[in-house]
């Protein structure tokens, strides 16, 4: 260690997610064009950017739901992009929360939170249930353990999804637009759970369109556009006084709801997300 050329991975236990020169293409479409960044222990990183800029793809490459075409990702200094990596074990260290909740509809809220504890972590069922219950309490749904997802509102489902992820006792949490599919009056409950998590010291990578949340909770904001990180830094800088024209244009659009082009973006967005919860066929 001479200090001049940092090694890959750093080996520092605080560098929980290390991303080096990450590229991802879908066919001819290059969605990520070289992303390099590190998320530190206890850090809350909010990823913002226009629809289609590759935010979800970046998050999904971190836990290998998408296979990167080039570049390396290290989780807790272990390379998840290594073909021989124990991906399933590394995934248990990061909880993921999806825009469309993806709760298991054939299981109750409590069972959603215990199944992976029992099957993957091999915990005994009583222990698993106790921890699941504690996590449901944490998200304010301690009394809904017996309910099936279909019997709950979107906001409640998303909070169960957070409890499910927490039940694996992860080192870090990945959120992909956790509030975008919710009715406006239900967004607050979910955001407040996330705020509590952040204050509790959880490492979080959050793709979001909630600028107020990013400004308040994030330690660092990453603005992405066209598959690259255009600008990153503390929210006061990136959202408060952005230096790049692209960032300014984007922020003007999301912060001013009367902007004429808002509709275009919504439509493109709706089109690309229509497939998320539809059958795979």
């Amino acid at each position: 260690m001479t200090g001049t050329t940092p090694s890959i991975p750093t080996g520092n236990r605080n560098d929980e997610i290390q991303i080096y020169d990450l590229h991802k293409s879908f066919g001819d479409l290059e969605v990520l064009k070289g992303i390099t960044t590190t998320v530190h222990r206890g850090e809350v990183v909010c990823v913002i950017g226009p629809s289609g800029s590759g935010k979800s793809t970046l998050l999904r490459c971190v836990n290998l739901l998408e296979q990167p075409t080039q570049g390396r990702v290290f989780i807790l200094n272990e390379e998840i992009t290594d073909p021989d990596a124990d991906i399933d074990r590394l995934r248990t260290t990061m909880g993921m929360v999806f825009q469309s909740f993806n709760l298991f509809p054939h299981l109750t809220a409590l069972e959603n939170c215990t199944i992976a504890q029992i099957r993957v972590l091999k915990k005994n069922p009583d222990e698993a249930r106790a921890f699941a219950q504690a996590n449901l309490d944490k998200v304010g749904l301690g009394d809904r353990g017996g309910s099936y997802p279909a019997q709950m509102s979107g906001g409640q489902q998303q909070r169960v999804a957070i409890a499910r992820a927490l039940s694996m006792d992860p080192e870090m949490m990945l959120f992909d637009e956790p509030t975008s599919a919710l009715d406006p009056e239900l967004v607050g409950d979910v955001l407040s759970v996330m705020r509590d998590l952040a204050q509790g010291g959880m490492t979080m990578m959050v793709v979001t369109h909630e600028m107020a949340f990013a400004r308040e909770v994030a330690d660092r904001v990453i603005f992405m556009d066209g598959g690259v990180i255009v600008e990153e830094g503390p929210p006061a800088e990136v959202i408060g006084k952005p230096t790049h024209e692209r960032t300014r244009t984007f922020l003007k659009r999301v912060l001013d709801p009367t902007h004429v082009n808002a509709g275009d973006e919504d439509e493109a967005y709706a089109q690309r997300h229509a497939a998320d919860s539809t059958p795979t066929a």
């Binding site: 836990n63 739901l65 399933d88 074990r89 995934r91 248990t92 990061m94 909880g95 993921m96 999806f98 469309s100 993806n102 709760l103 298991f104 509809p105 054939h106 199944i115 992976a116 099957r119 993957v120 972590l121 279909a150 999804a161 499910r164 992820a165 694996m168 998320d276 919860s277 539809t278 059958p279 795979t280 066929a281």
Partner: protein, 277 residues
């Protein structure tokens, strides 16, 4: 054509409104029905019909412990074939979705073959296994032979249904399972398959109804009396008395099995429709 009529239309003296026209077709339909009933009543001799299809003394002779045994055999043949078909059909469905191309080919060839060949030929072929391979016999003969033969045929149909059910489970479900550290196999077993089977319960129950009726093909096998199912039993009696009544009774026995099942399917489908709305 619509062009010419619209040109001609104004010249016609009067055109019927759609409502009037619907009314007139309904009147015609009722008229035809009345004529048919009258003709039937005049030509058909009710007593003779009863003598041929439902002679009371033969109904009584048919009802009895042997009918009960045949009824039970029908259920045993069907249930065994269904269970085998379900297990094998699931394996075939997974093969069809496999990353390994040869598995997909094998499963497709299998399905196309057994859906295209009459079930009765498969059944006959299996009944001759003992002749083809001397000393070979299925366990629980004749049940084993029937279970395997019908199970193999029905698996071909079921595999298509189950594959569709698996694909109807949103891909977000697999992603959520994998993100929790579940392996592909565990995600399939614990998350996808339970949902898939829920989706395909109605069509699979329909398959069970078809299978119940197909179990009647067993009559082609040279069975001992203890192996008779409803059709074979009814047919023997019908031959003995030179009367159709025993077959009619056997037919009603099938309805006792199939009608509740079809009713169940309708209820489940209605419930699913409500749930997905």
């Amino acid at each position: 054509m619509s062009d010419t009529t619209s040109q001609v239309a104004p010249r016609q003296a009067k055109r019927l409104s759609p409502r009037k026209r619907a009314q007139r077709t309904r009147v015609i339909q009722y008229g035809v029905l009345v004529v048919l009933v009258v003709v039937a009543a005049l030509t058909i001799d009710g007593r003779q019909v009863q003598q041929v299809f439902l002679r009371p003394d033969l109904v009584l002779k048919t009802l009895g412990p042997e009918l009960g045994a045949a009824f039970l055999n029908t259920i045993i043949y069907t249930a065994g074939a269904f269970v085998l078909g379900l297990a094998f059909g699931t394996v075939l469905a997974l093969m069809k979705l496999s990353q390994v191309a040869p598995y997909r080919w094998l499963a497709t060839i299998y399905t196309e073959f057994f859906r295209g060949v009459p079930a009765i030929i498969v059944l006959l072929a299996f009944s001759l296994m003992g002749v083809a391979f001397p000393g070979f016999s299925f366990p629980f003969d004749p049940y084993g032979t029937v279970w395997v033969a019908l199970g193999i045929v029905t698996a071909a149909y079921m595999s298509e249904t189950i594959r569709a059910g698996i694909q109807a489970v949103p891909k977000g479900q697999i992603e959520a399972a994998r993100s929790l550290g579940m392996s592909p196999g565990m995600s399939m077993q614990r998350i996808v398959l339970p949902q898939a089977f829920r989706i395909v319960t109605p069509p699979l129950t329909n398959e069970l109804v078809l299978l119940t009726k197909d179990s009647s093909l067993v009559y082609v096998l040279g069975l001992f009396a203890s192996g008779y199912e409803l059709t074979k039993f009814g047919r023997n009696l019908a031959n003995t008395y030179a009367n159709i009544t025993p077959l009619v009774v056997a037919g009603f026995c099938y309805l006792i099995i199939t009608l509740p099942l079809t009713y169940l399917v309708r209820r489940m489908e209605a419930k699913q429709r409500k749930a997905t709305r």
